[in-house]
């Protein structure tokens, strides 16, 4: 569905994750839309269960490319195969990519992956859908109205309207990485940031138990997200 945009849009996204029901619709919509192969995710929903019975709570964290303003993947690529558009979207230039893999190592958000069968692959806010005046696939489908996406330059875009109301309650993920993401979150559990791998693309393990409590016998450590305690800095509330 089309939405208000300026002649020179600057695309940004705010996620109200308290609303998230962990349904994976965003992930699957993205995979169908972009023909993302098995074992790879451009966007992934992390689960976290905590507390002692019966005071148990579950949190979800949908993640995707943060479209960072200070762009680690771009800086890491010797082939200059990654560019950042004036619209704020970070894109791979396929013909320049020789899958060197430096981008994957540089990304703090597990958002870009490189394999020998294809070029580097990442979320580009469904640029082809934006071109057709449509919302990104994940944004459109979310049943819980988590995503507030739009042109930050237009005051009536869903993003701007949300930020005007709730901007002071939003924060970026892993602020200590100082990448200035274009994607902000409201109400996420800080502890969950450590579930997002750094330096490697998302594990395919999803909502399965292997990311809830780790099963060494079945899922060797080398294949899974390590719950390394990341030193937490106080999240800088983005206005």
């Amino acid at each position: 569905m089309s939405q208000p945009r300026t002649a020179n849009p600057r695309w940004k996204l705010a996620l109200d994750v308290e609303r998230c029901i962990g349904c994976h619709a965003c992930s699957v919509a993205c995979k169908v839309e972009n023909h993302v192969p098995l074992a790879r995710f451009r966007t992934k929903v992390y689960y976290w269960e905590h507390g002692k019975f019966p005071a148990v709570k579950r949190n979800f964290l949908p993640t995707l490319c943060m479209q960072c303003e200070d762009t680690p993947c771009l800086k890491a690529c010797d082939n200059k195969a990654i560019e950042r558009g004036a619209d704020g979207i970070v894109r791979v230039i396929p013909d320049k990519c020789d899958h060197l893999g430096a981008c994957e190592t540089a990304c703090p958000y597990a958002a870009i992956g490189c394999d020998e069968n294809d070029v580097a692959d990442k979320c580009d806010f469904c640029s082809h859908r934006l071109d057709a005046n449509m919302e990104p696939a994940c944004v459109e489908t979310c049943p819980a109205e988590v995503f507030h996406f739009g042109d930050a330059n237009h005051p009536q875009s869903p993003y701007s309207l949300f930020m005007a109301k709730h901007g002071d309650k939003t924060a970026v993920l892993k602020p200590e990485e100082k990448t200035f993401p274009s994607v902000v979150y409201k109400g996420h559990e800080k502890a969950m940031e450590s579930k997002i791998p750094k330096g490697k693309v998302h594990d395919p393990y999803s909502y399965e138990i292997e990311t809830w409590t780790q099963l060494e016998s079945q899922f060797p450590k080398k294949n899974r997200v390590i719950w390394a305690k990341v030193e937490q800095t106080v999240p800088g509330a983005k206005k």
Partner: protein, 871 residues
């Protein structure tokens, strides 16, 4: 194996099968695939077609070239409106239909996965006839003409013998029940065997008892302030999940509603609720009654509402409910009396913007019918029935209104033949308000000879996989040619149902066929949606309705006359004629264009029972001194048709008393009829314990099942992006319990299940089965409950469902079909055990006993008791 020279092997070979050629479809037909795999070219099949010409990067969908076609999802029973984007004749994507009042542009993960069904390289493409033993998996490709000529004469024979009821159709959530009823009606058979008793019949019966005219409430969640959820997991799996979740999210985060969930397992819903209460299994009804007691004891009930609208007034209700104190509730449920009292009073304080509602957690028990009645009663106690933000319901929520979409004439006459399987007298309420039936006893019934079949169709169902005792009793009966002499299965992929058929008819997917749909509308209006082909089905696939029409035409003129139309499309077109005058344009074109029609002529269904009767409706009535409005029917029998309230004649509830029915005579009579006494025999929603649970020894545990948000019972496992997310179902066990039993996450445990005790139950306490399963230790489950998801462990449905990567098949000529191969399935099923993955999970239904609850017959899914030990 010599046979392989002339017999093709595996579902993938279907695409190259010529008429007369044979194919072997069996669980281990895939051996040896790795040899081929080593010579796999780098890029092929659909994956290649998505690549840019340089081979680097993928082509994006060009939406400027897309045609949008409206339709309806059927990856689950929520039936969201969808729109498909078709580019160059291919369905590339679906999204929610923004015009659908229930879901708008939202879809869940299953809905989004839809297009992968059409493209699945293992789809059934041709009619096939069994040539080996039943269940061996040896098939021959035949023509449609041959297929129809196998079926029609057999139906003719049953009709000519005066045994039309021996033509039966076994269905899951087909959404073509109206079409099937016409087909069976033309034959004269009542034998439509459905799955309602395995799904929700206790909940539906409870709504019918209380409200009289609907089986499914429509909570006005977006306007509610307090939502008390008894055992529904609407964030993942409830019928109407997305529609409900969307409103509840709005209610909570935009409107400040509080959500309290009762569940024995920490579902996504429970884990995200403001409060999760974890009652003992089967005690939901006790909690509800204790809450009712607490509200009335604190004098917070809506006396006026009860005295006006309830068939048990406030004083009588107060004295009846007096025994069910919160302290008693604590003893039964394990939930502290103070919590019961506090939540009850919070609920009452928010009234009438408060909703207490149910689903399988409360209903799928021996006592679930009464539990659900007690929960619905809570809404009456606080006067929130029909109110803004309360427990609402509509007139025609779950059927396509015949007043708008009439069936073409002539219609088949009422079926007079009967079947003890379709209408078993032991469960007198199963077919009382709606033909919900007792689906789980079909195979037992056939085995015991309480009914016979000559022709058995199966459609959108996989009973060996989804029925209790599916892999034992179900398979035993499906394999026995004396009990089921002829089995025709219409399906999309080679399923467990198809494996035991004699004839396979390749079906069209829900994105390739016609049909109406509807369900309760959260906007409280009647609405109807249209399924239409977004793309044509592949190869020789034909939608089952079109097959039925063709069969009916071949059985004889006496059946053909009820099908005076070419195909399903023309049938739908005729039914849409009634819409033309309402929408001011051709009704069929309107439906195709919008995908949905909503009746805006009536007000929203708030306070439906208080709607005034019109003068026309009051004609020929009399009103007595109590305010009951009576009318005589043609047979001279008088019944109450309305109530005088506030000096105006009003509609009331569609119950015999026109009042909200706490007491119901039909329930009292039904219990007497079958000698069921545990409910006290007074037709009231009393609490009684589940006998199997009462008889549990200390070392026994409860075993419950659940559904993931990315899967539906039997139909989603072949969809690669869904199975990628969930393909494994370990057994959840509470941390403390696991410690006592010496069980750690990842340990293999042995589970033994036992037969139930109780009314109409035989052999209580005997072992049903054993399974070896992986344990998952968690805080998120009741200490005496084990939980295993019910949707996995497929033996068929192709590579994605069975976690077997590799090429489709080793057959000559396979390279030609490489173009429609999916490289994902050949190389990237990373959860294949060959990669060290977890595989495709377990089928737990196999060891769950058949246990129909008293009166209604709903399967007591969550009454299973078991023992567990580490192996």
């Amino acid at each position: 194996m010599k046979r392989r020279d002339f017999i093709k092997v595996g579902a993938g070979a279907i695409s190259t099968l010529a008429v007369g050629e044979m194919i072997l479809l069996s669980p281990d037909a895939d051996a040896g695939i790795m040899d081929w795999f080593r010579t796999t070219p780098k890029l092929y099949g659909t994956r290649k077609s998505y690549r840019r010409a340089s081979g680097k990067g993928r082509i994006s969908n060009d939406y400027s070239k897309a045609t949008i076609v409206k339709g309806v999802c059927l990856n689950c029973s929520t039936v969201c409106g969808i729109q498909g984007y078709v580019i160059d004749g291919k369905l590339v994507k679906v999204g929610g239909n923004p015009e659908d009042p229930n879901n708008g542009k939202s879809l869940c993960a299953k809905g989004q996965s839809g297009p992968t069904i059409n493209d699945y390289p293992e789809r059934l493409l041709y009619p096939m006839k069994r040539v080996g033993k039943r269940g061996e998996g040896l098939w021959k490709r035949i023509t449609w003409d041959e297929a129809y000529n196998e079926i029609a004469p057999r139906i003719r024979k049953a009709m000519d013998e005066g045994k039309p009821e021996e033509v039966a159709i076994q269905i899951g959530r087909s959404r073509i029940a109206e079409e099937m009823n016409r087909f069976l009606g033309a034959i004269g058979s009542p034998s439509l065997f459905n799955h309602r008793a395995l799904c929700s019949s206790n909940k539906r019966a409870a709504n019918y008892v209380c409200l009289g005219e609907t089986d499914w409430e429509t909570g006005d969640f977006a306007n509610a302030k307090y939502i008390l959820n008894f055992g529904s997991n609407f964030y993942e799996a409830h019928q109407g999940a997305i529609h409900t979740a969307k409103r509840i999210i709005r209610g909570r985060y935009d409107n400040g509603a509080k959500l309290v969930t009762l569940d024995v397992r920490c579902s996504n819903t429970a884990g995200r609720s403001d409060e999760w209460l974890c009652p003992n299994p089967g005690s939901d009804g006790a909690v509800a009654l204790a809450m009712g007691n607490a509200i009335i004891a604190a004098n917070k009930h809506d006396k006026q509402w009860l005295d006006t609208w309830s068939n048990v007034g406030s004083d009588e209700l107060a004295s009846w409910i007096r025994a069910y104190t919160p302290e008693w509730g604590e003893k039964v449920s394990g939930i502290p009396a103070e919590t019961i009292r506090r939540v009850a009073l919070e609920f009452a304080a928010a009234a009438p913007r408060s909703i207490a509602f149910t689903n399988r957690g409360s209903g799928a028990h021996y006592n679930g019918f009464n539990a659900d009645r007690s929960i619905i009663l809570l809404n009456a106690i606080v006067g929130s029935i029909g109110k803004v933000g309360g427990y609402c319901y509509g007139e025609e929520p779950t059927r396509v209104p015949p007043r708008v979409f009439p069936q073409p004439k002539p219609e088949p006459p009422r079926v007079t033949a009967t079947s003890l399987i379709e209408n078993p007298p032991e469960w007198p309420l199963a077919n009382k308000w709606q033909r919900m039936k007792v689906g789980q006893i079909v195979y037992q019934g056939l085995k015991e000879g309480r009914g016979k079949v000559q022709v058995y169709f199966s459609y959108t169902v996989a009973t060996p996989q989804t029925w209790p005792e599916g892999r034992s009793l179900t398979v035993e009966v499906l394999s026995d040619e004396r009990l089921i002499p002829f089995h025709v299965c219409s399906d999309i992929v080679y399923s467990e149902q198809a494996h035991y058929a004699d004839l396979i008819l390749p079906d069209a997917s829900y994105m390739e066929r016609w049909g109406f749909d509807t369900r309760n509308n959260m906007e409280l209006r009647d609405y109807v949606t249209l399924r239409q082909p977004m793309v044509q089905p592949p190869a020789e696939c034909v939608s089952f309705v079109d097959s039925m029409i063709e069969i009916a035409k071949r059985v004889g003129p006496d059946t053909a006359k009820y099908f005076p139309f070419k195909n399903h499309e023309e049938w739908m077109k005729i039914r849409c004629e009634g819409l033309t005058k309402r929408v001011g344009e051709d009704g069929f074109e309107y439906m195709k264009k919008h995908g949905v029609w909503q009746d805006m002529t009536k007000p929203q269904y708030y306070d439906l029972y208080a709607w005034e009767l019109t003068e026309a409706q009051m004609k020929d009535t009399r009103t007595d001194e109590r305010g009951n409005v009576y009318r005589k029917a043609a047979d001279g029998k008088e019944s109450i048709v309305g109530l005088m309230v506030d000096g105006k004649p009003r509609r009331g509830f569609a119950t015999p008393s026109r009042k909200f029915a706490v007491y119901h005579k039909d329930v009292e009579d039904a219990a007497k009829q079958v000698g069921f006494t545990e409910d006290g025999g007074k037709g009231m929603p009393t609490y009684f314990a589940v006998p199997s649970i009462e008889k549990m020894t200390n070392e026994m545990l409860h075993l419950v099942t659940f559904k993931w948000n990315v899967h539906t019972q039997g139909r989603t496992q072949s969809q690669k992006y869904l199975s990628e997310i969930v393909h494994h179902n370990p057994m959840w066990i509470n941390t403390d319990t696991a410690k006592k039993l010496g069980i750690k996450s990842g340990d293999k445990v042995e589970l033994t299940t036992y037969r139930p005790h109780g009314h109409q139950m035989k052999n209580g306490g005997e072992v049903v089965g054993k399974a070896e399963i992986t344990a998952f230790v968690t805080e998120g489950i009741h200490p005496r409950v084990l939980a295993i998801s019910n949707t996995l462990g497929n033996l068929f449905h192709g590579r994605a469902a069975t976690a077997k990567k590799g090429k489709r098949q080793q057959v000559p000529g396979w390279i030609e079909s490489l173009d429609n191969e999916d490289q994902d399935l050949v190389e990237d099923i990373w959860w294949d055990p060959k990669n060290g993955g977890t595989g495709a999970g377990y089928n737990v239904n196999a060891i769950l006993p058949i246990q129909p609850a008293p009166l209604v017959g709903m399967q007591g899914w969550y009454d299973t008791v078991c023992t567990v030990k580490k192996v």
